[in-house]
Symmetry: C2
Subunit: 178 residues, 2 copies
């Protein structure tokens, strides 16, 4: 951030009075430009024993598999956003059972909220950001070709909970790979 | 948003190619300035049968009561942020039991994540954004002087769960009052 989005003046990066960390400040109009983590909303869509995955048609992680998810938009609830992303990426319609996982990824300033839900039809297919959309049995999940650790974690918890016959909320922190 | 924070040029508000909603676009440098919901992190601190509330020393809702909470910062997990806010607003130290509530407030573009946890000492007291910090029994909660519906909902679920002897995650959407 170099310029004030309110007045166009150059911003500085310094600690505002009464604050404890540097922000982008405009000394011309007085605006403080806060930058906060973003929320990624998505779903774990299942049908019978199978779960739905999307093969990414965009960077990062082009060609790798993921659950449908994307940035939450203003004006929507996280569940609405998760359903919107499921439609956009996988043309998937589903009925949400519950919130299934909440993951923080502090080093990229993201919070993931993933809802678990059953597909209500089999009319799914790739949206513009997916190459393929497919249902997988647990034994066929492409574990070595998953795009994001947060999705791998979520899937592992799903299959584990399913085996135990009870689903609960899972949360955690995904740390930077060393 | 009137000016591009990257190059200082005037931005326009229109639908980018391939998108489905208007964004702030810079035709000079090509930047698209996304605006997304913000995450509010907080805690429900308890000690024995009592819960900790803060009387707000800032607007909005000056003088009304709330649970300690504030905007999640970049680089922290939601739990870390919740503990940070508890310290900043209430000088409260606590040991987190679990994530307790997840609320969307779409009309103000906020997602609340509230963690439940026991105070580890009684050295709490008002930080700069609080007038008073106090422990309340359920019967003494100032229900008519609560600052935010999301906190009232969270407290009601807490006392209800406690009466039933089992805590679970609560989620919901807070709608605009009509
Ligand atoms: Zn300015
Ligand atoms: Zn620009």
């Amino acid at each position: 951030m170099k310029f004030c989005s309110h007045c166009g003046h150059t911003v500085v990066f310094e600690v505002p009075t009464g604050d404890d960390r540097p922000r982008h400040l405009c000394h011309s109009c007085g605006a403080i430009h806060y930058v906060n983590p973003r929320v990624i909303v998505g779903t774990l869509p299942y049908l019978g024993d199978q779960v739905l995955l999307c093969k990414r048609a965009i960077e990062p992680r082009y060609g790798l598999w993921t659950l449908p998810a994307g940035f939450m938009e203003n004006g929507e609830s996280s569940e609405q956003g998760a359903l919107r992303e499921s439609w956009e990426e996988a043309r998937a319609n589903l009925r949400v059972d519950d919130l299934f996982s909440v993951y923080d990824i502090p080093h990229i300033n993201q919070v993931y909220l993933i809802y678990r839900g059953e597909l209500t039809d089999t009319e799914f297919g790739p949206g513009p950001e997916s190459l393929e959309v497919e249902l997988f049995d647990e034994k066929d999940i492409p574990w070595q070709e998953m795009a994001f650790p947060v999705m791998t974690e979520t899937l592992k918890h799903y299959f584990n909970d399913r085996a135990q016959g009870q689903f609960s909320l899972h949360r955690g922190v995904i740390k930077r790979k060393l």
